[in-house]
């Protein structure tokens, strides 16, 4: 019996080593695609390093701790999914939030064995990462919070409980009712209590105090301020940064701590501002301007953003919950009492969120139309991750409103596997070609 256990663990070790090798390879390939850019802003280096730290290890497949975990050994780390977990509560309790929504093809292949076939790759990859417990992002988590958003995420909570402690956070699906708002606020009070219990007496007597909460709101607010500055800079025509780089920088927020990220983002924004002032651009003004909508690309799955820009389009805007939507809306407080701040946090994490797990979700159409105008969009690429029924569902409405505006929409259904890249390339190229012609025709009048 003893021999059998040894053999099994040996097998598991080899499996982990293979997985690590594959993950490192994919991540390095995705990063190389960014680093190849001759105009790569200096400020992007930091975000590329964050990704490299999180997803590539040394040659033996050992993953180093992301920088912010170093010297933070006595702080609790809380894993979060989706956008509805208030980071302010986590920071106020002295803990560190990390975003665990998975984007790795290798991890999604491991997850394939753990969930039904039609589950989306985000959930597959998240489960795959957790089950192997290899990279420190997942290893270091003391607890994982999962909001009840779509079906797959909800059921993922049950399966994840086999590997880690899971707290479910009940998010109402209908925003526009007094009852659901009250329920949501209650949920957040309960979450606050749980976080206080986790961080314990060692941290300011086990209570999230008014000052700490206020400071946390301001800290995340500063990150949001810089994220919105980037958002504004992406409106420039001709563009000052490729979308695949801007999206990566925002994505890195999930794997970094707010103050460090904010500092780096401020530097990047300053650099881009200078670029714009000097009239330096990375694309010709004829490049079709794309809004990337739908399911989120999550690093290392940089397949669609890279392909789009490789084929000559530029992603000037996105609505991804790992991108622009992530840090768009700030918490608005009036009085600085704990109650007032809790109400403000509850409002910020529920009301402006346009995740398609809400119904009705007319706000999302409104946001998309607004973006089309703000960013002078020529076409929309609608990314559907296989199994993501709710984003696919809303495509019907998106197509309808965009048709009225004469904005072409290309639906791309794919997962994390590289096998369909060549087919996607042809389809994307034809779309970009079509938009380019339309754009030049409009210019000529």
């Amino acid at each position: 019996m003893n021999r059998k256990t040894i053999k099994e663990s040996d097998q598991l070790q080899r499996r982990k080593a293979r997985f690590a090798q594959g993950l490192v390879h994919s991540a390095e390939t995705a990063l190389a695609g960014l680093e190849d850019d001759p105009d790569l802003p200096q400020g992007m280096r930091y975000f590329i390093d964050v990704m490299r730290g999180a997803f590539t290890g040394d040659q033996k497949g050992r993953f180093s701790n992301p920088s912010h975990f170093q010297g933070a050994d006595n702080r609790k780390v809380i894993g979060t999914y989706c956008l509805m977990v208030p980071e302010e509560l986590i920071y106020a309790a002295g803990a560190i939030p990390v975003r665990l929504c998975g984007g790795s093809y290798e991890a999604s292949s491991i997850g394939d064995e753990l969930v039904p076939r039609d589950t989306c790759p985000v959930v597959k990859a998240s489960l795959g990462f957790s089950s192997l417990n290899l990279i420190s992002l997942y290893q270091r988590c003391d607890v994982v919070i999962i909001p009840t958003t779509c079906d797959a995420k909800r059921k993922m909570g049950e399966e994840l409980a086999a590997f880690t402690e899971v707290w479910m956070l009940e998010v109402p699906h209908v925003k526009e009712s007094e009852g659901s708002r009250r329920q949501w606020l209650e949920q957040l009070y309960a979450l606050k209590k749980n976080i206080e219990k986790l961080t314990g007496k060692r941290f300011r007597g086990g209570k999230i105090r008014r000052k700490a909460l206020d400071a946390a709101i301001k800290m995340v607010g500063r990150a949001q301020y810089e994220a919105r500055r980037l958002y504004e800079l992406r409106r420039a025509s001709p563009p000052v940064i490729p979308g695949r780089e801007a999206m990566l920088a925002i994505n890195a927020y999930g794997f970094d701590t707010a103050p460090e990220w904010t500092e780096a983002m401020a530097l990047l924004n300053d650099e881009l501002k200078t670029r714009r002032r000097e009239g330096r651009s990375v694309y010709s003004e004829h490049a079709p301007r794309i809004l990337l909508a739908g399911s989120p690309p999550i690093f290392p799955n940089w397949k669609v953003p890279s392909l789009l820009e490789e084929m000559g389009a530029v992603i000037v805007a996105d609505e991804s919950c790992m991108g622009s939507r992530y840090l768009y809306d700030p918490v608005g407080t009036t009085e600085k009492s704990v109650t007032d701040m809790m109400v403000a946090i509850a409002a910020r994490y529920l009301m402006p969120c346009v995740c398609p797990s809400f119904a009705p979700n007319e706000d999302r159409l409104y946001r998309l139309l607004q973006m089309v105008d703000e960013f002078d969009i020529n076409g929309i690429v609608y990314h559907v991750l296989k199994g993501c029924v709710i984003y696919d569902f809303e495509l019907i409405r998106v197509e309808k409103v965009m048709k009225e505006r004469n904005i072409p929409v290309l639906r791309i259904e794919t997962d994390y596997s590289p096998e369909d890249i060549e087919q996607l390339r042809t389809r994307i190229e034809a779309f970009v070609e079509m938009l380019g012609r339309k754009k030049s025709k409009m210019k000529r009048g």
Binding site: T426, R427, E433, M434, K441
Partner: protein, 265 residues
């Protein structure tokens, strides 16, 4: 008069076309792609030039399209199949017809292209995930039925009671056809059923993006009158078949070269 070349390097066949400055088709050629797309393309283009008494160096622009478009090293530019078929469709459509939709059934993919008033692509859909809805589907099944692909169409038009083929997957459809044969079903009925199944798949894609009349069919699939008839039934509209449907992409590519040169000069 100046001539322009187009190469459509498809998955199954390579097509070459040469047009003159007025858009008149000078000559065309089709050969199986084989394993070396680049050399096959070079050879077929050379042969076509010889036949027309042209020297390849006298042709100012050769534009490549199709699956292997980037492999054609002597091409001056490459364009996607969508653009090439749209350009070709306008030229190869029957005289006097204004084409709103092009349905192209190739060896490895099928596509539906919606054109605007100026003949530019307004929208398109592609089936490129699997053999269902492509010429490959017909090739696989013709082997089981021991019928040459060219004879599928005429045979199916003799069908009295078409069978139903329910599987869209080429592999499953193959076993379905084998069991129909084992049950002693008529070959013509089976083939008609295959065409109907293919037509359903393609019309589903076409209806999703919205069919606009007139409809033009291109690609090797348009050479099959049984498939054209099945699609007409499914879409409930008349379908025009392009002149030289299989060459439509190559002709379109050649025309694009002619237009851009003409525009400059």
């Amino acid at each position: 008069m100046e001539c322009y070349g187009g190469i459509d390097a498809g998955s199954t066949y390579i097509k070459a076309a040469i047009v003159n400055g007025n858009g008149g088709i000078q000559g065309c050629k089709v050969v199986p792609t084989g394993i070396d797309c680049r050399n096959t393309a070079r050879e077929v283009f050379g042969e076509l030039c010889d036949e027309l008494g042209l020297s390849p160096s006298s042709i100012p622009s050769v534009i490549s399209t199709g699956y292997g478009r980037r492999l054609i090293d002597f091409a001056s530019k490459d364009v996607t199949e969508i653009k090439a078929h749209a350009a070709g469709g306008i030229r190869t459509a029957p005289a006097g017809k204004r084409i709103g939709t092009i349905i192209d059934i190739g060896g490895q993919d099928s596509k539906v292209i919606i054109l605007d008033e100026d003949g530019e692509t307004r929208n398109f859909a592609m089936n490129d995930k699997c053999a269902a809805g492509t010429g490959r589907f017909l090739e696989v099944l013709s082997r089981v039925l021991k019928v040459d692909v060219e004879n599928l169409g005429p045979l199916s038009l003799e069908a009295k009671a078409p069978c139903r083929i329910n599987s869209l997957c080429a592999v499953f459809a193959e076993s379905e056809v084998i069991s129909l044969l084992a049950r002693g079903k008529d070959r013509a009925d089976i083939i008609a059923g295959i065409h109907m199944s293919l037509a359903k798949r393609i019309s589903g894609m076409a209806k999703r993006i919205g069919v606009e009349s007139d409809v033009l069919m291109t690609g090797g699939g348009a050479l099959n009158p049984g498939l054209v008839a099945a699609l007409e039934d499914e879409l409930m509209t008349d379908i025009h078949v392009a002149e030289n449907p299989q060459l439509n992409g190559a002709i379109g590519a050649a025309l694009i070269g002619g237009n851009s040169n003409g525009g400059r000069g």
